[in-house]
């Protein structure tokens, strides 16, 4: 008679009895000897993959193995932004599919992840930037994704307190995606975990993968710190550590690991409604429902597996922040943290089979992974269940670098730290 379904009424009922009978969000599952599919990595993408495998493809005999606690990777350490304002045909349909899944996520999962579509605004500061955003906005429209190109006055109406008059690079306007916004990051991991658990998925924490069982070119299981587990199919969803884990299967990936820092301020009365990215510096910001300014900038730039960064980028980010919104000078930075990014060679992800049968790869998310969580899970589940790419994810091939079909939004080439 434990309470399982979430609603205001169940909360009120529980409140009368001291909330004593809530069913745990997910079981503390122990590994079974074998599964139809194992997902390596209990982050947002891994948990979403397990959920969609069970929900959409009927594959319920699934385990998610996580080396620590679920959501301990980038899903728990990002700036919570969701959007689909991409430029290239390989990307837009995928991120738009993700937006659509976000829009129905809470009802689907019965978990409030606070998906909040308060708008994402990219500022431009020159005619060239304006035309580049026009090109992007038009590309979005061609894919049926709404976008609006705003001029300076329209931006000023939305954010009258930006620095318009004393700016080194004056704001000329912005590209707005009204459907973009933010999502409570931890809740995404927990919501998927809970929903997957209810469909029979085993979520196995504190089980670090230490190796793969590979028999004549086919992956048949994983070795973990909680014993070896057999599986018909194995999916890697451990962005940040993709290269490390893949190397245990003898794979070398077109990926480097880099650290991205993010920041949150003390809670202050909300004055930033949507998400804003500064076009003349490395700075983007939103304000959480607790009142903290959540912001970030560029990656540190050097290869790193340490979940922390260095001072120059902190200064660079805050210089951007003060240049755009000088009223935050006396607001205090509360906390900073670092996440390890799978920086791919063209700034776009990989969802594909590998040279090893039964071993599937979901990697290379750079710092775009959070917003992609639902579609990434769906496409990866599709690939694992059907052995063919989902239509919105078919551009994310592993061999695209070999064939010269890069998906390079920024045009930075094979220099991962520039994407």
């Amino acid at each position: 008679m434990a309470t399982d379904h979430y609603s205001l009424w169940s909360v009120l009922r529980e409140s009368l009895t001291g909330h004593k009978t809530w069913k745990p969000a997910w079981r503390a599952a122990a590994p079974k000897p074998s599964y139809d599919a194992i997902i390596v990595g209990g982050g947002g993408h891994g948990l979403a993959t397990a959920y969609y495998l069970a929900k959409r493809y009927g594959v319920t005999n699934v385990a998610v193995v996580e080396k620590g606690w679920i959501g301990s990777g980038n899903v728990g350490r990002n700036t919570t932004i969701v959007r689909s304002n991409y430029l290239l045909p390989g990307n837009i349909p995928f991120y738009e599919a993700s937006m659509k899944l976000w829009e129905g996520l809470e009802q689907d999962l019965n978990y409030n992840a606070m998906v909040s579509q308060r708008g994402v605004l990219n500022l431009y500061h020159s005619d060239t930037q304006r035309d580049a955003y026009a090109r992007r906005g038009n590309a979005m429209r061609l894919h049926g994704v709404n976008s609006e190109l705003l001029d300076r006055d329209a931006v000023r109406d939305m954010y009258p307190w930006f620095n318009y008059d004393d700016a080194r690079f004056p704001i000329q306007g912005g590209l707005l995606q009204k459907r973009g916004g933010t999502v409570r990051h931890d809740a995404v991991a927990w919501g998927y975990a809970r929903a997957a658990d209810r469909l029979g998925v085993d979520i196995i924490e504190n089980a670090e993968v230490t190796g793969f069982k590979i028999e004549n070119g086919r992956a048949t299981g994983v070795e973990t710190t909680r014993g070896s587990i057999l599986a018909k199919k194995i999916g890697l969803a451990c962005a940040g550590n993709s290269s490390r884990v893949a190397s245990m299967a003898g794979l070398k990936l077109p990926i480097e690991s880099h650290v991205l820092q993010a920041f949150v301020s003390e809670g202050i009365k909300p004055f930033i409604d949507g998400v804003v990215t500064f076009g003349a510096g490395h700075f983007y910001v939103s304000q959480s429902d607790k009142g903290g300014l959540v912001f970030g900038g560029d990656i540190d730039g050097y290869n790193s597996y340490a979940q922390r960064g260095n001072l120059p980028v902190v200064e660079d980010v805050l210089e951007g922040g003060m240049a755009l919104m000088p009223r935050i000078g006396r607001v205090r930075l509360l906390r900073s943290w670092g996440g390890i990014m799978d920086m791919s060679m063209d700034g776009s992800p990989i969802i594909d089979k590998t040279q090893i049968d039964g071993l599937y790869l979901n990697a290379g998310w750079c710092y775009g992974g959070f917003k992609a969580t639902p579609a990434s899970g769906l496409c990866f589940a599709h690939l694992i269940a059907r052995d063919e790419p989902h239509e919105v994810g078919r551009a994310y091939r592993l061999d695209r670098f070999r064939t010269g079909h890069m998906i390079d939004e920024k045009g930075m080439g094979n220099q991962p730290n520039l994407h």
């Binding site: 730039g301 340490a306 260095n310």
Partner: protein
């Protein structure tokens, strides 16, 4: 993080630009397998968690390219040498390349 430039001395991270894995060498463009070799050179990365040899450019300093041995888990730097000297030594070792 601070890098000890062999010419300028120890300087802060923000004076440098990183290029990446220094264990890669530009393949022979004339070789029959050049296409495959250049793909590997251009795109595949060991991306090690641990001791990593990498190329840095002292952009705000003496403009020297450096080979830095750094641990990607601790950011601890074991050694820094002028890339030119490393390259010359390597060329001497294998008198190949253009």
């Amino acid at each position: 993080m601070r890098i000890n430039c062999p010419f300028c001395g120890e300087r802060s991270l923000d004076e440098f630009v990183i290029q990446g894995d220094a264990s890669l060498t530009r393949p022979d463009p004339a070789a029959p397998d050049a296409a495959a070799a250049f793909y590997t050179y251009g795109y595949e990365r060991a991306n090690v968690a641990g001791a990593h040899k990498e190329l840095w450019y002292h952009s705000a300093g003496c403009h020297a390219w450096l080979v830095v041995s750094r641990d990607t888990r601790s950011h601890e730097i074991a050694s820094v040498t002028l890339a030119k000297n490393v390259a010359l030594a390597r060329a001497k070792a294998s008198t190949g390349g253009v």
